[in-house]
């Protein structure tokens, strides 16, 4: 059993040195420093995020997505053919993302690696395995304005472009490549019609020919009603059991060959869970899914929390994982 994070990590904390990135961005915005200062601060904060995940006891870490403004625009601004528009609320949270839309007359295309350098930087600074994490085409496409392309065509074009990104990442032989698709969940703020058949088609295009262990993560709600979810071409499926308790239903007929991402520590609220309750949930998951692969994690990325709480949440994840005495 493995303790891991889901995606992002706070970019700033209240402790000494933990404001480096915020201060650097402020100085660059005011014309007091060049962009290389942001670069240096981002590297330092990325290294710190990795170190803290390891110190908390995680077995598999992320780079903390320290450079990401939001879950959508990091990849969207690095693909050809997208324009970035106004701010929209990220689900029902108090955070925002900028909404992309296809540029008229420019073909949507992958023109070069997006996450490769970040992955390699993280690996140089980590002593544990690192997973590459990217937001999937269904989520980018659904939260964007598809404009003249229409939803289906836009999502599938994104899937084709990001398939090249996955192939490029796979060449670096990462431990895992994780695709995040929160837009497919049942969430009270979601007002679009969820298109399950488009989701399936997009996942097929996205993963085609990618030679690496792939995982699919969803959060901010449940995916219990997504048809044939576990047949999708991923090795591991990660769910949010805090905002999506109905996800427990998915464990009833769990395919032995699939890994489970068990998001049981609430990454949206500061209340610290009782370790006993977490251990009980891990035990329940083992009982339902058998002795297969389980990645225990927070319910989603940790940037919704103050840094100090984020650290403590990861310590809880690690304790709940390793309390089992089961090694897989």
């Amino acid at each position: 059993m493995i303790a891991t994070a889901v995606s992002h990590y706070p970019k700033l904390g209240d402790g000494p040195g933990e404001q480096a990135l915020r201060l650097a961005i402020g100085r660059v915005d005011r014309g007091e420093a060049g962009p290389e200062e942001i670069e240096r601060a981002a590297e330092a904060m990325t290294a710190a995020a990795i170190k803290e995940q390891e110190a908390a006891g995680l077995d598999l870490v992320t780079d903390g997505q320290i450079r990401w403004q939001d879950p959508i625009t990091y990849a969207a601004t690095r693909l050809q053919g997208l324009e970035i528009g106004g701010l929209l609320r990220w689900f029902e949270s108090n955070t925002y993302f900028r909404q992309p839309r296809p540029s008229p007359g420019i073909e949507l295309a992958w023109t070069g690696p997006i996450l490769r350098e970040d992955l390699e930087f993280a690996r140089r600074h980590a002593t544990r395995p690192v997973k590459a994490v990217l937001t999937g085409p269904y989520t980018i496409g659904t939260l964007s304005d598809p404009s003249h392309l229409g939803h289906r065509r836009f999502v599938l074009e994104l899937a084709r472009a990001l398939n090249q990104e996955l192939r490029s990442l796979a060449e670096a032989r990462p431990e895992w490549i994780q695709v995040d698709e929160p837009a497919i969940v049942n969430n009270p703020s979601v007002r679009y019609e969820r298109d399950f058949s488009l989701f399936r088609d997009a996942m097929a295009v996205l993963t085609e020919g990618v030679d690496a262990p792939l995982s699919l993560y969803t959060y901010h709600g449940d995916v219990a009603d997504v048809p044939k979810l576990l047949e999708l071409p991923f090795r591991l499926f990660g769910f949010d059991f805090v905002q999506g308790p109905a996800n427990w239903d998915l464990l009833r007929e769990w395919p032995q060959e699939k890994g489970l991402g068990l998001g049981i520590v609430d990454a949206r609220n500061v209340r610290l869970e009782e370790i006993g309750s977490l251990v009980e949930q891990v035990g329940r998951a083992v009982a339902l899914t058998g002795e297969g692969l389980i990645h225990v994690s927070p319910s989603c990325g940790l940037e919704f929390l103050p840094r100090e709480t984020a650290r403590r949440k990861l310590e809880l994840v690690a304790r709940a994982t390793h309390a089992q005495g089961v090694t897989v």
């Binding site: 904390g13 609320r89 007002r191």
Partner: protein, 331 residues
């Protein structure tokens, strides 16, 4: 609704002048006393009240010169609420999110002295400005209740006490903002129930401001919110909601936002008049308050002044045209 038609007002917050921004930063570093900061907030309040009077606005606000964040301000003044470390909202913007850590109580009135001060400066009515219980809950962490419903209800009780004290102090208008309602439409009933606690027994004119929402999806259920007036960001949402009023008439007063405040652009008076005339296709003039879409605190002082002037001038011209019967044909 037996009152003058098309009264002008504003949503609540107004930008802080530079001297107050600097003083707040100095206060955060311990460089000046709270007393000195409060004196500068009073000075800024005087300036905003004088400016609104000079422009001709009918229902004034104090501009919230003494507040930082609309949720943290109340949390800081309630027992049982604490403030967290920094969390990011977007880009390089961070805020300290409140946390419920125990039973919530209001040890003393929070906004009443500030309201009394602002009202003492003018003969025109000044609105009492509160943040609603649903929004305080939704924008806070919970380390105590374990249930959103319990937390919202506990907050409703303290907001009710504050509203009652504002009314007792003489407030004729009380606004209870609920911008978070639009993000969790599945909890509209909870917000409605909580607002019922806050407004029960009040004789003052009650308003709630909401924004960032696709309200057409909760209309007409929106009208269940127990207030006299709902203030909506009509212009930023492209006036999309108006068509729904034909089918289901808007049965309350409406605060009708006529300027998009998320842009630096000051629209021409004619454009704002067009929005007012659009409103009057669906709503009676006595039912409509005219204001910018949302609080102006993110604009510069100069932009805020010009937006308020534009609102006022558009209203004055529409009123004159209505009175003389020279109503232009719909645009």
């Amino acid at each position: 609704m037996s009152r003058e038609s098309l009264l002008t007002t504003s949503v609540g917050s107004l930008p802080k002048p530079d001297y107050l921004v600097r003083a707040r930063a100095a206060r955060a570093r311990g460089g000046i006393t709270q007393h000195d900061l409060d004196e500068l907030a009073r000075q800024a309040t005087r300036e905003w009240i004088a400016l609104q009077e000079q422009i001709g606005i009918d229902v004034l606000v104090d501009g919230e010169q003494y507040r930082g964040d609309m949720v943290a301000y109340f949390a800081e003044n309630l027992d049982g609420m604490a403030i967290s470390g920094l969390v990011r909202s977007y880009g390089n913007r961070y805020y300290k999110k409140p946390i419920a850590v125990g039973p919530i109580r209001r040890p003393q009135p929070i906004t009443v002295a500030w309201w009394e001060f602002a009202q003492s400066l003018t003969e025109r009515p000044v609105k009492g400005m509160l943040t609603g219980p649903y929004t305080i809950c939704d924008w806070s962490f919970d380390d105590h209740f374990g249930s959103r419903r319990e937390m919202v209800m506990a907050l409703a009780e303290v907001v009710r006490q504050e509203a009652a004290d504002l009314e007792a102090a003489g407030a004729r208008y009380i606004q209870i903002d609920e911008p978070a309602v639009s993000t969790r439409l599945d909890e509209l009933e909870l917000a409605v129930e909580a607002m019922g606690i806050v407004t029960s027994g009040l004789r003052a004119h009650t308003t709630t401001h909401m924004c960032y929402g696709r309200f057409e999806e909760v209309y007409p259920r929106l009208l269940d919110i127990p207030v006299d007036e709902i203030d909506l960001e009509m212009t930023n949402s492209g006036l999309d909601l108006l068509e729904r009023f034909r089918e289901h008439p808007f049965t309350k007063d409406i605060g009708f936002g006529v300027i998009d405040v998320h842009s630096h652009r000051i629209p021409p008076v004619e454009e704002v008049k067009g929005h007012i005339y659009r409103a009057l296709e669906y709503l009676a003039p006595e039912q409509v308050y005219i204001d910018p879409d949302c609080g102006l605190k993110t604009r510069t002082v100069e932009e805020a002044r010009r937006m308020l002037e534009t609102v006022q001038q558009a209203r004055d011209e529409v009123r004159a045209e209505l009175a003389s019967g020279k109503v232009p044909s719909p645009v």
